[in-house]
């Protein structure tokens, strides 16, 4: 459905309501609008209601806080100035706390360093190599006769037999 076209004069009133109620419109323009407001009841009613609503913004008084405002504020200040327990504890322990923390960190480093540095020894390494060769021999026994791979494989088996 096509929206009903708005009368240009009505539109001007609607767009300048704030300036109209605050008197920020040139006098000749204000007279024109006033004339339209008298002839158009809808704009007249809109301007009247808007004016009443707008005045409400200026009617507001200064607001006082509750009676306990100062007491609450005074309590907040006292709480703010009272050093809290952990603050007092930390400031009291400041001189002994730092060296203790450093020693603790050093011990922690030594402890982790000892366990992380414990890598597998020589015997474990030899066992893992042996397992690898057995696996290798089982997997690759079908090299062509006389090839380099075949020769190397036979050599490995020979060495292994000798050592065992």
């Amino acid at each position: 459905m096509k929206k009903k076209e708005m009368n240009p004069e009505c539109r001007k009133v609607e767009e300048n309501l704030v300036d109209l109620v605050e008197g920020n419109i040139p006098e000749f323009r204000q007279r024109e609008i006033q004339k339209h407001l008298e002839s158009c009841p809808q704009c007249g009613r809109l301007a009247d209601r808007f004016d009443r609503l707008w005045q409400e913004f200026s009617k507001r008084d200064l607001v006082s806080p509750s009676a306990s405002f100062w007491e609450n504020l005074f309590c907040s200040i006292q709480a703010d100035e009272r050093p809290y327990f952990w603050g007092l504890f930390i400031s009291g322990m400041k001189h002994s706390f730092r060296p203790a923390a450093i020693i603790f960190l050093l011990l922690l480093g030594l402890f982790f360093g000892y366990y992380l540095g414990d890598i597998p020894g020589g015997s474990e390494k030899a066992i893992s190599e042996e397992v690898f060769i057995d696996q290798y021999v089982q997997d690759f026994q079908d090299f062509p006769q006389g090839s380099v791979s075949d020769f190397y494989l036979k050599y490995e088996i020979q060495v292994k037999d000798q050592t065992s």
């Binding site: 704030v18 809109l46 209601r49 808007f50 609503l53 913004f57 200064l62 006082s64 806080p65 005074f74």
Partner: protein, 188 residues
């Protein structure tokens, strides 16, 4: 705004030395203006009171660091505006669900300003209209309309030029008009 300039500076000097009597005097002198600003920007009495408490607590803590680049009152109101805007940002993030329910309520025609003119819900409608504004425009509008400050004074508080304040005020008014007019027309 600057009538207590010397006394305010003297009070701040004494507050820096933790003089609670001086602090009480400063609070009594400025609490209504600070609270009105917080209340109108935040829109909630209890949150505004909390914010105003924080403002004065911050003043108490940092009285010694006041650099005398502006009036004491300007410095105090700047802290109040910044604190209120911070609260507003936080509460806006947490109130998005609430705004959805408000929208549904408005769509159902439950809050028409034409009807509200005669009811207690007028305050709520105006508050909602203010919430519609971007925060910078809202700060300028509240300080101008509710606290009665001139664009020059607002400019000092917000740390911008008077021209910028004029522009923000103009945009705020136009945005409020945009919010109010369609809702008024609905009632015809």
């Amino acid at each position: 705004m600057g009538e207590h300039k010397l006394e305010d500076e003297e009070l701040l000097r004494r507050i820096a030395e933790k003089d609670l009597q001086a602090f009480r005097q400063l609070v009594e002198r400025h609490n209504i203006f600070v609270f009105t600003t917080c209340c109108n920007l935040i829109g909630d009495f209890h949150q505004a009171e909390e914010a105003a408490q924080d403002v004065f607590l911050q003043i108490y803590r940092s009285a010694g660091s006041f650099r005398k680049e502006s009036k004491v009152s300007t410095w105090i109101y700047r802290i109040a505006v910044n604190r209120s805007l911070n609260t507003l940002r936080r509460s806006k993030r947490s109130r998005w669900l609430e705004s959805l329910s408000t929208l549904k309520k408005e769509e159902a025609g439950g809050e028409e300003p034409g009807r509200l003119l005669e009811t207690e819900e007028m305050e709520e409608f105006l508050k909602r209209a203010l919430d519609f504004l971007p925060e910078k425009q809202k700060a300028a509008f509240v300080l101008h309309k509710y606290n009665g400050l001139s664009p020059g004074e607002i400019a000092e508080i917000l740390g911008v030029s008077p021209n910028t304040v004029e522009v923000r005020l103009h945009r705020a008014k136009k945005n409020l008009q945009k919010y109010i007019v369609p809702r008024l027309k609905k009632t015809f």
